[in-house]
Amino acid sequence: MNREPAHLLTVKDLAVEYWTRRGIVRAVEDISFSLDKGETLGVVGESGSGKSTLGLSLIHLVPYPGRIIRGTILLEGQNILKFGNKETRDLRGRRISYVFQDPMTSLNPVERIKNHFIELIRTHEPKVTASEAITRTRKLFKDVGIQPERIDDYPHQLSGGMRQRVMIALALALNPSIVIADEPTTALDVIVQAKILDLLKTLQDTYGMALMLITHDLSIVLERSDKIMVMYAGRIVEQALSMTLYAQAQHPYSQGLLKSIPNIELAEQKLTAIGGAPPDLRNPPTGCPFWPRCPYIMEICKIKDPPLFQTSKDHFAKCYLYGGEKSS
Amino acid sequence: MQKKSKARKSMVSSLMPSLGSLAKRGLAGWLVIIGIVLVTAIVVVTMISPWIRPHDPSTILVGQPLVAPNSQFPFGTNDLGQDVFSRALSGGGIMLQVSILSVAICLLIGVPLGLFSSYAGGIVDRIFCLIMDSIYAFPGLVLAIAVAAMLGRGVTNMAISIAVVYVPSYFRVIRSQVLSIKEMPYVEAANSIGAKTRTVLSRYILPNVVPSIVVIATVNFADAILTAAGLTFIGLGVPVDIPDWGWDLTNGRRLLTSGAWWVITFPGIMIILLALGFTLIGEGLSELLNPRLEQ
């Protein structure tokens, strides 16, 4: 009997709904995956695919009017969703950290940078004095590549790239086992993007944390993650090791994503976009949510939502091309 | 014959659904409905009061003076033996007259001024703005008191005093609306085909400004009522023997020490309900027209 070794993080059957005035939106559906120590997981999807909601669920911070309606999230064996207030706050920032998308708006504008750190450290480790906290902050700044003098500045005095480094430093301050980075580079310009991503990799080597990279840009995660989860309309449509995905993407959506990545080495290329638009999640189409845009639809696709088929050891695809009922 | 009745029918049916559709618009719609109900109820009650009140409100000694509310006099009697209930039913007349008049004056003066000034722009606009801002910054009631004191008592004078204070509000609202509309492409287009200023103002800008005018007018109504009450309290009210809530409040004040709470309470509640009615309409309309994106 093959017993799988316990993972650092195991998510099973997670579903999240937003109860808005205009209807219930199923933002995340039927999500199961695992993450191991030091591993990098890439989560890819368009806006509205539910990837940010997924990230926030992992620290139990889905904003009103959202609710987690089903599933378990096991961190080192404990179900986060059953935590009380105190344990949840202990979890956030210390065991799992979150780096937000827009560094321009993620820091408190009326507070100096150093106070962000002092507050963070002393919230989780009350015995630490302010000066000890500042010392640790300076070290963190060195690790993320900001001059230590900047700790006295206000957020608006820093550039976008620097602010993102500050966010990363805050995320690492208490040595978490998992760092979730939600579109860490989308709000930055291209040159800074690469630097930040490299920084994350370096820090991972130093601090040894698991990293979850949430992005819409497949090219980022192809290079920098161990395995990738492709999301569409709140569901996982494909899960595979990065190299496998690159070589043999199976779900039509993932294939479309791959085809739309421009290749700088090709002199001329036609970029193929995926036609259509993501579905309205208040009224999703019956059957597979991707069928309106899929080049390979079969009759069954319009009727029944396909399950996640396992096509090889670490490869899963949610598509009738790989199993189940085929229409005759 | 048939055509006319059809036209009338469609006119009525175009008004009716608007009330029903208000209810569907959530909390804001309900606020407007409740407000309209309150205001209409009070206006109607005031108008039909001569027929529904149990006693003549001005007749003294219909009952013993200073009798607490009982079955015969549900709101009790005041120091002159007048029935407080009848006075509560009939006392809104002056206040309504004053507020309607002051709102009318504000509309007649504030709206054209605002339109003209903001559309003209330049130094003219700046001068008007400076004057209006200065009036606006001044404590409203103090200004109204000063004007009323100089003009003397009476419905028209009270209305003028109140209008002086609130014209700047109208001016500002109109002006900010016009400024934002002025830059819109369809106005530019109209100008480029040589439309006269008057046409542009009346055909393009004014219709878009109307919703804001309605909102500020309703809020203004509420303020006018409260200011009128305040002026009466100071002694600048209308010197007639007509039953008036404001006057009852002023008069009832000295009766408080003898514990006769009912003389001021009921007129006070009526004023609150009337002001509240207008405020709700204004709040609701404002929300409907510019929904706050709280989701």
């Binding site: 005095q157 | 200065s134 305040g230 006070g268």
Partner: protein, 344 residues
């Protein structure tokens, strides 16, 4: 724009506004009714007395001369002479002005405190029953005539409970607080709270607060509606912002997030609103002072109306106007100083 240039331009802007204010008052009182002296005497009977008054008060001079003397007088601190006894208006309102200021300050404190407290509670309980109740309270509070609320409070808390005085500013059996003298210099603010503390007299201090309580509660409650709504909407907006979610994601407690993060960022608009509401506050103060027999500037004006003393009214109204302009200037400058985004 730098802080310095903002301060300078703001101060410069105040000057034309004050001039317009002065002119406005002049127009209303001297020009509007035609002849203020006639109004004072009501009937054109005693022509000789009327002429004498006109002459003594300088009201028989050409309008332009009157205007010039009026403005010049104000800069000297001369607010004219009373029609009743020709005594200088400025002296008459010498103690009335601090009384109004004290009432205004405490009422504003009540309004802001109540407003912030309920505004925060309301935002925390978004869309739940408490939220709706608080919002309704805010709307209704503004629809209550301030003097009506004052009278109700007088009956219930004052007379009914025998706890608090229902009129006057200070206990008539005691001497009023006058501040402290150090050497030859006498420090007195006219604010009884401050002066009694300067005197070191705690009993007088408590008495002052007892008399201040009902009037400032009345005025403060009526004004609080605006602050409740402002705080609530600012909090709701701020609580949705990224840096608040980011703070929660770092494990900070809800209390910390609500007060230290959201409220601090939502506070500056409250400050601006305080400045904007100050004029309304003073208007309400007039009615409150009348209700509670509070010897302030508002009650002075109301009394003078009874005496048809129009020059006195003019002087008092001018003082009101200048007071509001100065306060509004101070608030704007304070706001500019506090907002770190403007500083640099």
């Amino acid at each position: 724009m730098t802080l310095r240039s903002y301060v300078i331009s703001r101060i410069i802007l105040t000057i034309p506004m004050i001039f317009i204010l002065l002119t406005m008052v002049f127009v209303v009182i001297r020009i509007l009714p035609g002849d203020p002296v006639l109004l004072h005497f009501e009937k054109a009977e005693n022509l000789a007395a009327m002429e004498e008054m006109r002459h003594r008060l300088g009201l028989d001079k050409p309008i332009w001369v009157q205007y010039f003397e009026y403005v010049a007088g104000i800069f000297r601190g001369d607010l004219g002479e009373s029609m009743q006894d020709y005594s200088p208006v400025a002296q008459q309102i010498w103690s009335a002005f601090p009384a109004t200021m004290e009432l205004a300050i405490f009422s504003m404190v009540v309004a802001v405190a109540v407003g912030i407290f309920f505004g925060v509670e309301s935002s925390k309980a978004y869309n739940k029953p408490q939220d709706h109740m608080i919002r309704i309270f805010g709307i209704v509070a503004y629809a209550i005539p301030v003097f009506f609320l004052g009278m109700i409070l007088q009956i219930t808390l004052g007379v009914g409970l025998h706890l608090l005085p229902t009129g006057l500013r200070f206990n008539p059996t005691l001497s009023t607080p006058t501040g402290i003298s150090i050497g030859n210099v006498h420090f007195s603010t006219g604010l009884y709270t401050v002066d009694s503390l300067l005197e070191g007299n705690i009993y007088k201090f408590v008495e002052t607060l007892r008399y201040l309580f009902l009037p400032s509660l009345t005025l403060g409650l009526v004004l609080s509606g605006v602050f409740i709504r402002l705080t609530r909407s600012n909090m709701l907006e701020t609580l949705r912002l990224d840096f608040v979610t980011a703070a929660r994601a770092r494990g900070l407690s809800e209390n910390k997030v609500t007060y230290s993060y959201a409220l601090r960022n939502a506070f500056l608009p409250v400050l601006t609103m305080m400045g904007l509401q100050f004029a309304t506050l003073l208007g309400g103060a007039v009615l409150t002072e009348t209700t509670f027999s509070w010897p302030g500037l508002g009650r002075y004006i109301v009394d003078r109306i009874g005496f048809r003393d129009y020059t006195a009214i003019q002087g008092a109204v001018v003082l009101f106007g200048i007071f509001v302009s100065v306060v509004s200037l101070v608030v704007d400058l304070l706001y500019a100083y506090l907002d770190p985004r403007i500083r640099l």
